[in-house]
Subunit: 248 residues, 2 copies
DNA sequence: AGCGAGTATTGATCTCGATCAATTACAGGC
DNA sequence: GCCTGTAATTGATCGAGATCAATACTCGCT
């Protein structure tokens, strides 16, 4: 597979890698044409802040490529990631001017953007979009709630295993690969960002990564490339229910 | 089983205490009439389970009175509350058959219910409802994210103070009272439920409640009635931005 | 009254992850 | 090659909250 080139900022919706997962998933060809006419692309490099908490956000967007994070910071500097946006995820709140959290590019990212007011209008006129947005928001709420279980009750080791399995699964699903047996992917997060996600310190993250490696659950090639010899082995470490995989 | 032994209230939407906060908030009189014709009430006693995780949930509902909780349980018994439903909050997912979490009545509750399929139809036909539902879901997502910060980064004392201030605020807003100065309310949760909310043990909850009492931040009258001599004092203990820029 | 079950408080001790600190790995610039 | 700065690992110690355990409070019951 040729890897993501961030160089082409204007593509057809029809060829878009997130065409069938993003807010536009349900749109018909004529609706797509309308979207096509008002969308525009933006790129950010890893580490760049897309919006600061409290600032006015004059657009909404879908993540096309790369990973972005939503982070809350307390006055004394304690930080907690509260959202991880992978390709096809939506950013921005239609009805709210100010961004409630810092939005930061974890890797280089490509966004498909819409200025807010045309998008608001679009929502009114296009039930396919507002329905999909509701559905995505409900999914995000579910994800947030699973995350709450992780933050409140899981051990450090379980937290790491859970994060790795979430990323592995989303990555596999994006590439239309099964997430069973051997799986490999690039970690889009630094150890510090992982710590912010998991409510841990970066030292604890590092220690637990080493422990999982020693135990043969994961293999590290460089700092960022992870390979998992047996995905089920990783799942056993997450503390989650393995049986009765409840699908809708 | 819902308790049907007592006469269930059958009230007019117009007189409903949550008329202007629930999913129906934006509805016009004619839309209300339609709702009126298909709604029905259910009551549950404190401690009763409304739905078990994984079970089919054939209705959606608004909480009219009382408090309900959404809880996730791990195989080994670790439990985390992931949602706290106060009056006007909505329960159930339009597009999903199975309930993802246990729904339990924390106090006696009164629900305003709709069978799922008529409600789905209603959403399609009534943009005022689906818009409001999206808005409420986004608010819930915001609340979940603040909760994530609490779970991941706050100390036990800050967690308790945060929970008390959340309940105090919602309670005051429901009664149209200001949440400043002296505030008093009934705790709708046991110490154990508080622990499940906060990702703590019930012993730690009890100790921190005693500490806050000793420090004069709260007063306890019985186990459940809380009074707060100075709400700002409580807010200082939550670790949150006070925005007024009071201290350092 | 006395009993029992559920709920809450308080004490003693232990442990997991935080904190403080030193070292290593690695990429980019010259 | 050699700096320099950031990311990551590893070690030593500490402490907040968990765990184990005993005791009190409350309400309904006979």
């Amino acid at each position: 597979m040729p890897n993501r080139s961030l160089a082409l900022p204007q593509q057809e919706c029809a060829d878009c890698p997130i065409r069938h997962r993003a807010v536009c998933a349900r749109c018909e060809t004529d609706e797509l044409e309308h979207l096509e006419s008002i969308k525009y692309y933006r790129k950010y490099e890893a580490g760049q802040t897309v919006v600061w908490a409290g600032d006015k956000m004059d657009f909404v967007a879908s993540v096309v490529e790369g990973v972005a994070s939503l982070t809350q910071t307390m006055e004394d500097g304690r930080r907690q990631m509260v959202g991880l946006l992978l390709p096809s995820d939506f950013m921005g709140r239609p009805n709210r001017e100010a961004a409630p959290y810092d939005v930061v590019a974890s890797t280089d990212i490509l966004l498909c953007c819409f200025r807010r007011s045309p998008f608001l209008q679009l929502i009114e006129e296009t039930p396919h979009i507002s329905q999909r947005l509701l559905e995505m928001t409900l999914d995000e709420l579910d994800a947030a709630r699973e995350w709450m279980l992780l933050l409140g009750r899981k051990t450090a080791r379980e937290k790491i295993a859970s994060l790795l399995s979430i990323i592995a699964r989303r990555d596999a699903s994006l590439k239309n690969l099964p997430s069973t047996g051997e799986v490999a992917f690039d970690l889009p997060l630094t150890r510090e960002a992982m710590a912010d996600y998991l409510g841990l310190t970066l030292e604890t993250v590092s220690r637990q990564m080493s422990a999982l490696k020693k135990d043969g659950v994961i293999r590290l090639e460089g700092k960022r490339h992870i390979s998992i010899p047996d995905f089920d082995l990783l799942l056993d470490e997450t503390g989650d229910d393995t049986d009765g995989g409840v699908l809708e």
